[in-house]
Amino acid sequence: MTPSSRFPFFRQGLCLLTLIACSALPPAASAHHSFALFDQTQTLTIKGVVERFAWTNPHITIYVDAPGPPAQRFKIETGSVNALKRTGWTADSIKAGDNAEVSFKPLKNGEPGGLLVEIKIGDVVLSGGG
């Protein structure tokens, strides 16, 4: 049982800067796996192109191709569809081909991936959830 609501950055939920004001949002939650996969002490930021947006449970996943060097595909995981839908995410919040700036808590094993903190696409900022 691992709800994300205890992490301040998870609780920010979604802030569509161009559409709605950030306000008090219900806590996002995930029970699927431990957050120990990720290094909570670090936040990395990459820029790239969204290769795929998987609107799926138990986690929404965003695949981002970063030019590097070295060129890498990052697998960025975030909360469940149910939790993030409550904060305003939709199935078309992110699309393949979007240019994105992504900050995330990296995988401890050093592989190119992590837990989403925030993704910026143009003026839209989406905050992650566990």
Partner: protein, 260 residues
């Protein structure tokens, strides 16, 4: 006068017939469920969507949640195993390969964890049953009302166990048995004879309380008690299909994220 007496005699006769018939009828249906004296119109309406309260019920660390009734009074071998498990988990977490749980495999939480309502739950009820729908993993729990619990040897183990309930005044009392023994509660196992008793009642129109008692002669020295509090929510429970599990579990039970 005679007419009145005749009428009274007829009423008494009719009454005797009715009582006799009713008695026969009851005897004939003795094995059927009792009638719930708390009809739909009279009993408390606990239907609706519920979320846990207060918001910080889980504690600060998602990998070390607060036990709802404090530490459990475990019998010696289980207490030692629990300490060892916590050490093993700490090492695995530090390495970034946490030990997988049933949830990591998209399996149901089971009882009583489902009632912890990490995601919202919805309650639907009528005279014969209370249905609890958990959004997380689309779990379903059926509580049959006014039916005796079958002998334990007749019950197959289930994630949510077998639940029988009845109303005592404003309180729904539910007994649950035969929860699968691979279902853990806060990483604590249980024996096949574990019994969960819940006392569920409205403390206000939008405030639901569930007093839970776990008795387990195999694992617990003393019964474990705690209370889940819920607030009413206008949230509509959504579909949750665990279709895209990206967790890879190795031979030691440690989890990592697939990069596929």
């Amino acid at each position: 006068m005679k007419s009145a007496l005749t009428s009274r005699t007829a009423m008494i006769f009719l009454g005797v017939v009715l009582v006799t018939f009713t008695g026969m009828s009851s005897a004939a249906t003795a094995s059927k469920p009792q009638t719930d004296k708390h009809s739909v119109a009279k009993r408390p309406d606990i239907s609706g969507t519920w979320e846990r309260t207060p918001d910080d019920w889980f504690g600060e660390n998602p990998d070390d949640p607060v036990h709802p009734g404090g530490p459990m009074d475990l019998k010696a071998p289980y207490a030692a195993e629990y300490v060892e498990l916590k050490k093993k988990q700490a090492v695995a977490n530090e390495a970034g390969t946490p030990i997988a749980t049933t949830s990591s495999k998209c399996l149901p939480e089971g009882m009583p964890t489902m009632m912890a309502a990490l995601f919202p739950i919805q309650i639907i009820h009528d005279d014969k049953q209370v249905i609890v729908l958990g959004e997380y993993l689309q779990q379903v729990r059926r509580i049959l009302l006014n039916q005796p619990m079958p002998p334990i040897e007749k019950l197959d183990p289930l994630y949510q166990g077998h639940s029988r309930g009845h109303w005592e005044g404003d309180t729904l009392v539910v007994e649950t048995q035969r929860v699968r023994t691979d279902v853990l509660f806060y990483d604590v196992p249980h024996g096949p004879a574990m019994k969960i008793t819940e006392r569920i009642r409205l403390r206000g129109p939008d405030h639901l309380e569930n007093q839970v008692l776990i008795e387990d002669p195999q694992v617990l020295n003393t019964p474990y008690r705690f209370t889940f509090e819920y607030k009413r929510s206008n949230y509509a429970i959504q579909e949750y299909v665990c279709e895209n599990n990206q967790i890879v579990i190795d031979s030691e039970g440690k989890a990592s994220l697939s990069l596929e």
